[in-house]
């Protein structure tokens, strides 16, 4: 394994005061892998994801993205795209203005072509000049997807991305994730809806009380029931 794997945790841990959200964790996710991160509520899934996103500073250890330490080289964040259950969008701005803002924030080139292409891809070209505040939940999430991938990240972090998605948007997300993997992209998916993860992941990580308890490779075609069976021993309640 080279030193420039897309996601590397080296003894990364996170404490919140006296509470330990994540015990020191080592983890390497290699290029093209698609990992599912499961666990009960409060097991540390979000903490781990936010550490990998650089949104949360490790109390110990470090996180490297593409071989670069997130704390020392803030430019390493350019490789990351984050899609969460929150849209991370501005309701007062139009769809187009939102994307334009993020394109400028990332210092992208060919901004207009990129935005046009992204809007077509998520099927929002017709509504591009409408305020995001009037969008339906599904449309917002599609735009959020366009936002998260506008800078062509090599690592996608997905935090409960299926929450509130309509069928159309959900299908679009599935299609995009498969395409993303075939082009060498790596992603880490946090979800409690294991049926949505069906056919999307080739590696299963399970957290229990801030510790990584299970880490195994999966067959791509593993169905939701099999996933559930594997996670079950580590979940306090049935997923």
């Amino acid at each position: 394994m080279g030193g420039d794997d897309p996601i590397v945790l080296e003894g990364a841990a996170k404490h919140f005061g006296a509470q330990t959200a994540l015990h020191p964790t080592d983890l390497v996710i290699t290029r093209g892998q698609a990992a599912l991160l499961a666990g009960a509520n409060g097991a540390g899934k979000s903490t781990l994801l936010r550490l990998v996103a650089g949104l949360c500073r490790p109390s110990q250890g470090g996180v490297r993205i593409g071989g670069r330490d997130l704390q020392r080289t803030p430019e390493a964040r350019a490789a990351i795209g984050l899609l969460s259950h929150q849209t991370l969008l501005y309701d007062e701005l139009t769809a187009r203005e939102n994307l334009h803002f993020f394109a400028r924030l990332y210092g992208l080139d060919n901004i207009l072509e990129r935005i046009d292409a992204a809007l077509v891809e998520v099927g929002l070209s017709q509504r591009q000049d409408h305020r995001v505040g009037v969008f339906s939940r599904g449309m917002k999430q599609r735009l959020a997807l366009a936002r998260a991938t506008l800078h062509r990240p090599s690592v996608l972090l997905l935090d409960e991305p299926f929450t509130g998605l309509d069928t159309g948007a959900s299908t679009a997300l599935h299609r995009l994730l498969r395409e993303f993997r075939t082009t060498g992209g790596t992603y880490l998916l946090v979800t409690h809806r294991l049926d949505e993860a069906e056919g999307l992941v080739d590696r299963l990580l399970v957290l229990e009380r801030g510790r990584l308890q299970l880490d195994e490779s999966l067959q791509d075609d593993l169905d939701a029931d099999a996933l559930r069976a594997r996670c079950a021993p580590y979940l306090d309640v049935a997923p």
Partner: protein, 222 residues
């Protein structure tokens, strides 16, 4: 030095200081007996500013190292700074009433001290009421750094504002030898008191954190 022997030293110094203030030092001719409050007032002011400086040191070091001990230093020093500042703000008016005829004047030294006091009181507000306990050390450190940098600006702007209102006795008054000795004994006594209280309070804070950890661990295991 062990804390008990340190306490004896402090106790002895304080006894000497009290003896010097109330039995030995001659009464000042113009102001009379009330001048003796000066031996509490000035050392308290010095201790307050030492404490504020320690808040700054603790804050910078906490952000650099993330070690709890630095945060404890900042928090405990801020509490003591506020306490000593309060002594200054109470003893000042007690002195001023007979000498100036009023308890309070918007005189530069008084005003600056009052503003500085409110800044550090605000620091304690951040720590106690504002921040969730997990972020209090970090946000406190940011505020502790800004607060200390602000102190000279407070003094400068207040001096500009009321340059003609200056009434406070200047710092470099010539003192009779006995008064000078008493002053230095009081400095020593107050400085030792500050150190002792700081050590005590920091130890208490350490125990508080340890208890919180234990409690958390217990509830995790149950």
């Amino acid at each position: 030095m062990r804390s008990t022997s340190f306490s004896y030293l402090l106790f002895a110094t304080m006894l000497i200081a009290l003896g010097a203030i109330f039995l030995w030092v001659p009464t000042e001719q113009e102001m009379g007996i009330i001048q003796r409050i000066f031996y509490f007032h000035v050392p308290s002011a010095i201790c307050a500013f030492i404490a504020f400086f320690l808040v700054f040191v603790g804050s910078v070091q906490y952000l650099r190292t993330r070690e709890d001990k630095w945060d404890r230093l900042a928090l405990c020093a801020a509490e003591l700074g506020v306490v000593f500042g309060l002594i200054v703000l109470i003893s000042g008016p007690l002195w001023a009433k007979p000498v100036w005829g009023v308890y309070w004047r918007w005189e530069p030294r008084l005003t600056s001290m009052l503003i500085t006091f409110t800044i550090y009181a605000a620091y304690l507000m951040v720590r106690d009421y504002g921040a969730h306990s997990t972020q209090a050390p970090r946000l406190g450190a940011v505020f502790g750094i800004l607060a200390f940098v602000n102190v000279p600006l407070v003094y400068y702007s207040v001096d500009l504002w009321a340059a003609d209102q200056q009434l406070h006795p200047p710092r470099n008054v010539e003192l009779a030898p006995a008064m000078l000795y008493t002053k230095w004994i009081c400095y020593a006594a107050f400085f030792l008191l500050l150190l002792r209280l700081l050590a005590q309070r920091m130890e208490l804070a350490r125990i508080e954190t340890a208890v919180a950890r234990l409690r958390q661990k217990l509830s995790d295991e149950v």
